[in-house]
């Protein structure tokens, strides 16, 4: 084993993930355990969160503002659960390297795992709350069909996109801790720019291309297609987001690898 400056190539990341797969497994299960440690309701919080949001938004947008989307709770939930995965992963991912200071620079530790862990552990939560979404779909007498086979594809694209973003953000956050606050605000703003609490049809034609050009919006709408409309999502759009996600992972990992040797000193 020759230790020189870190190899920034993405295949190196894949090999490293394989080598440390058991550590990754341990870290993800630790993340899940720690989240619910000392809480009475435990995993129920993961369900309660979208459920409470659904109730409030259904009241405000469905009843007060009469947004005019049929079976609004189903529509809302099909987008907001994936959004919850994205937001939670971004929030804990941004500070993941800083939070791992007991490992990074103190012991031999592949810091890239820290960035990936929140994406995976929140993915587990997302998957575990899917039955709940399916139950709501059926409770409103809606149907699920063939488009469901695209669910894993969409999830993989979302995971890659989030990991790619996080490599940039988590690395930068070591040097500029303000980023954590900034990301919070950006995510809050983004929530209303992505068609989650309203349907994309209500966006004026002239503004629509800007909103729908947002990769997060493409992904969220793909979930809505599967769980709400029961139709196939826009495959070309998803394909573009997939390419973008791959580019982000490669460049993000290169950025992370470039700064890796400085991380330990700044923590």
């Amino acid at each position: 084993m020759i230790l020189q400056a870190a190899n920034p190539a993405a295949p190196f990341l894949a090999r490293k993930l394989y080598r440390y797969r058991w550590l990754l497994y341990e870290l993800v299960s630790r993340d899940l355990k720690l989240r619910y440690r000392g809480s009475v309701l435990g995993f129920a919080w993961t369900l309660l969160n979208p459920l409470l949001f659904m109730a409030v938004y259904a009241l405000v947008f469905g009843v007060y503002l009469r947004i005019g989307v049929r079976n609004f709770p189903v529509f809302l939930l099909s987008g907001i659960m994936a959004w919850g995965w994205f937001v939670s992963a971004m929030q804990s991912g941004t500070s993941s390297i800083v939070d791992g200071r007991m490992y990074v620079g103190k012991t031999v530790f592949p810091a890239e795992l820290l960035v990936i862990v929140p994406v995976l552990s929140n993915c587990v939560n997302f998957v575990l709350s899917l039955p709940f979404l399916v139950a709501i779909v059926f409770a409103y007498h809606q149907h699920l069909g063939l488009p469901l086979i695209l669910l894993p594809v969409i999830m993989i694209i979302q995971a890659l996109l989030t990991v790619g973003l996080l490599f940039f953000v988590a690395t930068l956050n070591v040097f500029f801790r303000d980023l954590q606050q900034l990301i919070q605000y950006l995510l809050m703003l983004l929530f209303f720019l992505v068609p989650i609490v309203y349907s994309a049809n209500v966006i004026p034609q002239s503004a629509r291309q800007f909103v729908l050009g947002d990769p997060i919006a493409v992904i969220i709408m793909a979930y809505q297609h599967i769980f709400y409309y029961n139709t196939f999502p826009n495959l070309a759009g998803l394909g573009l987001v997939f390419v973008l996600a791959i580019v982000l992972v490669i460049t993000g990992y290169a950025t992370f690898a470039h700064y890796r040797e400085m991380l330990g000193e700044y923590l």
Partner: protein, 257 residues
């Protein structure tokens, strides 16, 4: 000549010297705008170190505080990356450096043992089997389900030592571990280290206990200002280091007169 398991070729390591405000994006931007942004300076911690350690060697590292001893160990482990030069190692390296490094303070002791072991390359199954032995050696049998943050620093150090020496390293890297714990535990540590001494485990150890280095190590490296001042038989290294300190003390006294 047997193959070296650790080889450093012309290794230099420089660390960034930075101000605390560098963390702050606002200050950083303003300092650039106002033209008072200073390029960060680098300080050499290790300079042009050439080193080869062969299998089974027991090497002590001595020298004053700030000479770069811990940095040298971290570079060998791959925790720090050399600015110039090349480090190559062969085999499973197990480091035991800072107190509590590698422990998650919020996780129970048992979980930490498993996580630490998996980090060092063992499987979860193997680690679960090892948990009782580690707890027993660290004398923490009653603390298995307690979060690590509750442990005293001595207990945490015992835990670290117990895990690192239980996973069968090829190369064991120890930093000041003999100063941990009470006298009773020190004796226990030494007995366990003796076992490694018999086997073909390579040990690199930093210690200020020169008597221990002289007795236990074949070879010692004396670091001074990031450079190798002497590399050779432990007895000679310790003798030279001590006489240098004495000389300095004499000169200091002489200058006072």
């Amino acid at each position: 000549m047997p193959d070296p398991v650790v080889a450093l070729r012309n290794v230099s390591l420089e660390r960034w010297m930075r101000d605390e405000y560098a963390y702050d994006l606002k200050n950083q931007i303003f300092s650039i705008l106002e033209g008072r942004h200073q390029k960060q300076t680098r300080k050499a911690v290790l300079s042009e170190i050439d080193l080869e350690i062969t299998r089974g060697e027991k090497v002590g590292v001595i020298g004053p505080n700030g000479a770069g001893k811990s940095t040298l160990l971290k570079t060998i482990c791959g925790i720090l990356y050399p600015t110039r030069g090349e480090v190559s190692t062969a085999g499973n390296i197990v480091p035991l450096l800072e107190l509590g490094a590698g422990f998650d303070p919020d996780l129970p002791v048992v979980e930490n043992i498993i996580l630490y072991g998996v980090l060092l390359g063992s499987s979860r199954k193997v680690m679960i089997e090892k948990v009782p032995g580690v707890l027993e050696f660290a004398e923490l049998q009653n603390y298995g389900s307690v979060p690590v943050k509750v442990l005293s620093s001595g207990m945490a150090a015992r835990l670290g030592f117990a895990i690192a020496t239980d996973v069968q390293p090829d190369i064991l890297i120890l930093d000041e571990v003999l100063s941990i714990g009470d006298e009773h535990f020190k004796q226990k540590c030494r007995r366990r280290l003796d076992r490694f001494w018999q086997e073909h485990v390579t040990v690199v150890i930093v210690s200020h206990e020169l008597e221990f280095i002289r007795q236990a190590c074949d070879r010692a490296i004396w670091l001074e200002n990031g450079r190798v001042a002497f590399d050779g038989p432990a007895r000679e290294a310790v003798a030279r280091y001590l006489s240098a300190i004495e000389r300095q003390a004499m000169e200091a006294i002489a200058s006072l007169r």
